[in-house]
Amino acid sequence: MRCVWVVMISVCLLFTTGCRSNAEIDDYSYAMMIGVDRAEGETSEYVFTYRVILPQAFAGDSKAKDDEKARIVSVKASSLSESYKLVSLAMNRQLNATHIVGFVFSEDVAKEGIYDIVSSMNKSVLFRNSVVLVVSQDSAKTFIEKNKAPFEVFPSRWTESLRDNQMRSGAYFVSDAREFYRRSREPLRAGVLTYAGVTKGSLETKGKPITSASEERGYTVDSLPREGGSEAVAVGSAVFVDWKMVGTLTSAESLGGTMLEKVLRVPLDIVDPRGTGQVYSFGVRTSLPEIDVRIENGRMVADITVSGVAEMMELRYEADEQSGDVYALLEQELGRAVESSVHAYLKKTKEWGADCIGLANHYRKESATLTEWSQRDWQTLYRDADIRVHASIIIKRRGYHRDEMHGGDAFAM
């Protein structure tokens, strides 16, 4: 009997632990990023561009250059699964899609609607729902070709830094396939993705920094004043209603929106409210806002309170800047800058009826049933909503300034 057990366990170990159909990692090629463009002259077909990594090229003794470690393959197909089959045929290794981290749609495709692709990706066992979705101002193929961040080879690092940079700048929204699909499937029918592109800007390009008090402000892909680094950049957000892209938000407008749904640590510059022309740099940490939504006389009314703590980025020693009155003025100005960003975000999204951050979800607690909540026309309600924003930013760590402690000139002995 013992012999029978030994044989059975041996058979199990040999046949059920992957020994029979094992494959070495070198036998695979890993798709890391997929781009989707509309095929020229064809209305029903797409051009899918795959960025594929060859693990063999990353081996310790490999002398492969960066360009040789990854291949870019484009195929024309009518669906995502067909494109996958075609790329598999094009590679002389088994294609694996479970490590895909980014999905790039060209603006044309996004404007026509991306339900088919996002839906099939969401339901497919090949892909993961944590894939980050991006809309490219240029063709997706160009974006993938140009997406070579310095010091990085893997697009996975690019998408990870995308999330980190969002928390540090608020310059764009980041949505994965799950989040975008959920928001678009629910009664609000609105979603928001990262807007990216290949920057044509140089140091001569005139951007509109966030400190500006004008209505049109913030950076876009084209107005980013910079040189060097990766040509592919993410600035701003693409807004969707009913799976179709309806417009874009600048970095400042995106900041206003991201502040309403995430805890951010962003740099914020304000101009001295006393008219000295001096620019003060703060690091602002915002908390999740308090949002109260109600329906009054058939109209949506929302009260939003954004709270945050600011810390001065540099140590200043001018005696007058350390007084309580100046701090109060600076706090008011910071609050105004935040309110202005949020209003800019709300103004644009209200025009499109796109409640991207789900303000209407805050009305769920007032609704008796799910049916009652979901049967409201939230697009119209959001478009006509009366939304009041109040920002309260407190400056902390005042004691860092020596003259505040001594009550006079910082360097007085």
Partner: protein
């Protein structure tokens, strides 16, 4: 197939291992589809209702046990209903467990064929499970239940880890309105949802094997409470991550949630660990189901030895699992059986035994009064 006494921890694991497997498979999405955002409240309500029913049956069995000595659940039913009815009830109950086993086998085979064995036919995982069950069923029930409560720590811990890792993706607003589709629908669903707990009836079916009546009650409290907490945690996470619309349209919500977990770029595809826990739980549950079915049949058919029935039950379950055409049919059939047939059978059985118990007590009291007169 004589079993030595089942301790209260093992009995607790019996409830756990019989009721929990469906949480890793189709149950969360089915519950969200039926009750919307109140799905987790429905689980609490149905758990309490099942607990009350099971407690009451245990009280009746306990009273019978006081004067019966060694007995089986069939003897108890025969005492309060009649021998024929008792045999019918036991056979029906064995059928209920068999259907549950068939649905479980088919669902887990579908999920295995979709994930781990991507290129295989559905028959391959079914044959593998059938073969493995033949081996596993050789162990004593007490050994299986001891393994189950060790596994409970592992699986429960993994569910807790999953919930913690999904915290950044959760949105509390998606859990509202707490009434879901309204009071009427929520209350109705509480009654229908008792069907998802029906496999937990094993705890009173095997009551005669337990060491102590008090231990059995403690086991019931422990088992139901543990399962209720895990079910609620999974549903709360699923609702706050996917929302009620997407949550209702996905089949394997637990797997989908595990796929969302992201540790770092160096530790990827952690769903494999969660799949391990779920496969072990489901596999153990299938073996326990076979043991319970065989015990019920031995009691119902009044045969001395149940071992020859084991292979028959496993073969029957494997073949029947192949008869279902696809996953959609499995979901449809599962919903019909779980939310209609199972609660109906449970309520009818408990009701019938209660009527028999009350009538017997009245007769006994009347006889005592007559004797005193």
């Amino acid at each position: 197939m004589r079993e030595r006494g089942i301790s209260h921890r093992e009995a607790s694991a019996l409830v756990w291992i019989c009721v929990l497997p469906s949480v890793f498979l189709l149950e969360p999405s089915m519950s969200i589809a039926r009750a919307g955002t109140s799905a987790y409240l429905v689980k609490v309500g149905s758990g309490l209702l099942f607990f009350a029913l099971a407690w009451w049956v245990m009280v009746m069995v306990g009273r019978y046990a006081e004067r019966a000595g060694a007995f089986t659940f069939g003897d108890f039913l025969a005492h309060y209903l009649s021998k024929g009815v008792a045999r019918c009830v036991l056979t029906l109950w064995a059928g209920l467990f068999l259907v549950h086993l068939i649905l479980l086998m088919r669902t887990v085979a579908e999920s295995t064929a979709k994930t781990a064995l991507g290129q295989s036919e559905i028959s391959l995982p079914l044959v593998l499970f059938g073969g493995a069950m033949m081996l596993g069923v050789r162990y004593r029930l007490t050994a299986l239940l001891r393994t189950s409560y060790l596994l409970a720590l592992f699986a429960g811990g993994l569910v807790a880890v999953l919930v913690l890792l999904l915290l950044p993706m959760m949105q509390a607003e998606l859990l509202l309105p707490w009434q879901g589709y309204g009071h009427a629908v929520t209350s109705r669903e509480v009654v229908f949802d008792v069907g998802t707990w029906c496999a937990g009836t094993a705890v009173f079916l095997l009551f005669p094997m337990m060491r102590a009546e008090e231990g059995a009650r403690r086991a019931l409290i422990g088992g139901v409470a543990t399962v209720m907490v895990i079910k609620c945690a999974v549903l709360l996470s699923a609702l706050s991550v996917f929302g009620s619309v997407v949550g209702a349209e996905r089949s394997f919500l637990f797997y989908e949630m595990a796929k969302l977990v992201h540790f770092s770029q160096y530790i990827q595809r952690v769903e494999a660990i969660f799949v391990c826990a779920w496969v072990m739980v489901v596999f153990l549950a299938m073996i326990v189901f076979v043991r319970v079915i065989v015990m019920l049949l031995v009691d119902a058919l009044a045969v001395r030895e149940g071992r020859p029935l084991t292979m028959l039950v496993i073969s029957l379950a494997s073949v029947c699992a192949l008869l279902v055409s696809d996953l959609a049919s499995t979901v449809q059939m599962g919903a019909m059986i779980t939310y209609t047939a199972m609660p109906a059978m449970l309520f009818v059985m408990v009701g019938a035994v209660t009527v028999g118990y009350v009538l017997r007590r009245r007769d006994t009291c009347a006889m005592r009064v007559g004797r005193n007169d």
